[in-house]
Symmetry: C2
Subunit: 139 residues, 2 copies
């Protein structure tokens, strides 16, 4: 991923991702991980049946990596996992909500200017002029 | 939608939805609406550029209806809209988070047993035995 995409102030939305997800070969649905204590929406990934089964069995938020096309137990190797507290399903049963308690470092792979992993991926907001700015404390 | 799917205790995940979304003809990305005051994740929809532009212009959470293939300013007609407080973008710029303040009725199209629109779509949790149960107060 480019630095500008992740750290810049230019809105440059990637509308191509969803088609790649749909074409990855696995049957997946969006899975949102939310910090059960702070309410912060941390990350949106995709889960197939195996990912859901693994999340339940391991007690860790698990996704299907649609780019690597493999199971992704987030933070299992590093120890920075998201402990599953509860799994919710939406009305139409086509998306999941993982209520989690983060263990270790932040859920986002990016780091703030002090070199600390950001707690979640939604660290920028859209300004009135159409550019992005960092949410306070996430710079 | 079937009553059982929306109100039942049987987990019956619809993994077919995402492919339909990708094939709807519009370039979309997931857009999650979260209640900025309570932290509740209300609904996950899909947004294209027009939906995002409309959300910003109207100040109401807007999606692209991938089933009807049309713009969906949620609650605009009924008045039960989700006022946009802030729009956030994830690290890779391939999903959106609408921070909203619900006006009027709940964000979910389903109703609880008292006939009241549910505040959000994630009103059921997965139990250890693999069945669904209603979150307290959402029955």
């Amino acid at each position: 991923m480019s630095k500008e995409l992740e750290e810049g102030s230019v809105l440059s939305l990637d509308f191509t991702k969803l088609k790649k997800v749909a074409d990855c070969g696995a049957d997946v649905m969006p899975a949102v991980a939310q910090d059960v204590d702070t309410g912060e929406v941390l990350i949106l990934g995709y889960a197939n049946q195996l990912a859901l089964d693994t999340a339940r069995a391991e007690g860790m938020a698990t996704f299907w990596s649609t780019s690597r096309n493999e199971l992704w137990i987030k933070g299992k190797t590093s120890g920075d996992y998201l402990e599953i507290v509860e799994i919710r399903v939406n009305c139409e049963q086509n998306s999941l909500l993982y209520l989690v308690r983060p263990k270790g470092k932040g859920a986002c792979h990016t780091k703030d200017s002090s070199g600390t992993a950001r707690s979640g991926c939604y660290y920028r907001r859209l300004k009135a002029d159409g550019t992005l700015e960092f949410v306070t404390g996430k710079e």
